[in-house]
């Protein structure tokens, strides 16, 4: 009992250190520690055998567990698969999200494009009717009235003067409807030719409209509508449509300049 390691045998045995070469060589030369270690492990064996003496019937329990598992199977527990079902569920959700986003993007882009084309066609009609054909309409020609109308329609009174094409001066402004939306129609002239600019503050719309608007193109777009070149763009929450008899490249430039001044 004089061995200094004797008291440490239990701790070493419990912690698994007893397997180390240092302890193994000590145990080979120390009968006291060997006897204590044997006593410790024998005691655990006695406990083990005593506990294992108890008769335990597990067949019925296993059957119950299997039945309970079968009963508790949820739709994502597919019986034929072996892998974790949650992973498959996650992949399914991810695929649905990607597919949904693609559908929304396609639909949003197409809708945005159609809306702008429809507005451009209406703008060309208005330009023909109200500016070229001089149909009797009430125009606001006083600068203050035009600024007041601009403040109401797009939230900024200075826009009509700011976006005026170079060399053109303001003739008048009025409210009109393009593709079911209220626009401010502004008429400019350089003495020979007249240009119509239509502006509108973009409303936020409902949830779906907002989502679809993310995918709509807001860059400059110029197309030919009958005898006119019609350009459109969206910038800083303002939609802008420009109608002129000038060729498409000139109208493209005019739209860019106006958009930069918004």
């Amino acid at each position: 009992m004089n061995c200094p390691s004797y008291e440490r045998v239990t701790d070493a045995y419990l912690s698994g250190e007893i397997e180390s070469s240092e302890w193994q060589s000590h145990l080979e030369s120390c009968p006291n520690c060997t006897a204590k270690l044997r006593s410790e492990s024998d005691f655990d064996l006695i406990i083990r055998h005593a506990v294992n003496e108890e008769r335990l019937q597990t067949r019925q329990l296993e059957a119950h567990v299997r039945a309970a598992i079968r009963k508790s199977r949820t739709p994502w527990h597919f019986p034929l698969s072996h892998g974790p079902m949650l992973v498959k569920l996650r992949y399914g959700i991810a695929a649905t999200v990607v597919l949904g986003t693609l559908v929304l993007a396609t639909f949003g882009y197409a809708k945005g494009r159609m809306d702008r084309t429809a507005a451009c066609v209406d703008a060309a009609d208005d330009h023909q009717e109200e500016v070229i054909s001089k149909a009797p309409r009430k125009w606001k020609s006083n600068l203050k009235d035009v600024e007041s109308l601009s403040k109401r329609m797009v939230g900024d009174p200075s826009i009509p003067e700011r976006i005026a094409p170079a060399g053109y001066h303001l003739i008048g402004a009025r409210v009109c409807i393009l593709h079911n939306k209220n626009y401010m129609h502004i008429d400019y002239s350089d003495g020979n030719n007249e240009i119509s600019l239509f502006v509108r503050h973009l409303d936020s719309g409902n949830g779906l409209t907002r989502v679809l608007a993310w995918f709509a193109s807001d860059g400059e777009m110029v197309e030919r509508v009958e005898t006119f070149s019609v350009g459109s763009t969206q910038k800083r929450d303002v939609a802008l449509v420009l109608v002129s008899s000038s060729p498409i490249p000139d109208v493209q430039k005019l739209v860019e300049q106006a958009a930069n001044r918004l």
Partner: protein
């Protein structure tokens, strides 16, 4: 199925520990069934290649802690049927105590001592594995284990002293 191959094979070990834990066979069976169902539902969280038995014991002990605390103090007698479940060829130390006496001594232990003793001596988990299963420091496992063994030894010694005293009277 993978679950049946990996998990259902441990039902006997779980039940053996559960009986000692609950000190009642029917409660132990309910406990094992609950644990197996919970393991099945969360089988996607089990990492293949890790110790499935330790994972199942962790689940069962969590079930026990959360669902059976109210009955664990009740003194319920277990069924002392004799059944040998020994590994063939394993060394069997000689003891003068019956299995029932040893089981009774284990059942007298506090739950925290009883749990670590069963996991270590009967189920063969290392102290490190027990620390992970019970989420306690390894030093606590070792001290509980040492204390549990001493308490069982002391109780058995008392039983023997009582027996010898009674025998001397005769």
């Amino acid at each position: 199925m993978q679950f049946e191959q990996l998990a259902l094979v441990h039902v006997r070990a779980l039940l053996r520990a559960a009986v000692r834990l609950a000190r009642d066979v029917s409660i132990a069976e309910d406990l094992v069934q609950d644990a197996m169902l919970r393991a099945w539902r969360h089988f996607d969280r089990f990492q293949p290649g890790t110790n499935c038995k330790a994972w199942l014991f962790r689940i069962m002990l969590n079930c026990w802690t959360t669902r059976h605390q109210q009955i664990r103090q009740e003194a319920i007698q277990f069924f002392p049927e004799q059944y040998a479940d020994n590994v063939p060829g394993e060394r069997r130390p000689v003891t003068r105590f019956t299995a029932e006496e040893i089981q009774n001594s284990i059942d007298l232990l506090n739950e925290e001592y009883r749990t670590v003793l069963i996991l270590f001596a009967v189920e063969g988990f290392s102290c490190k594995e027990i620390a992970e299963i019970l989420a306690i420091p390894i030093g606590t496992v070792m001290s509980r284990l040492s204390r549990a063994r001493n308490l069982v030894k002391t109780d058995l010694a008392k039983r023997e002293a009582r027996y010898m005293k009674a025998k001397a009277r005769i």
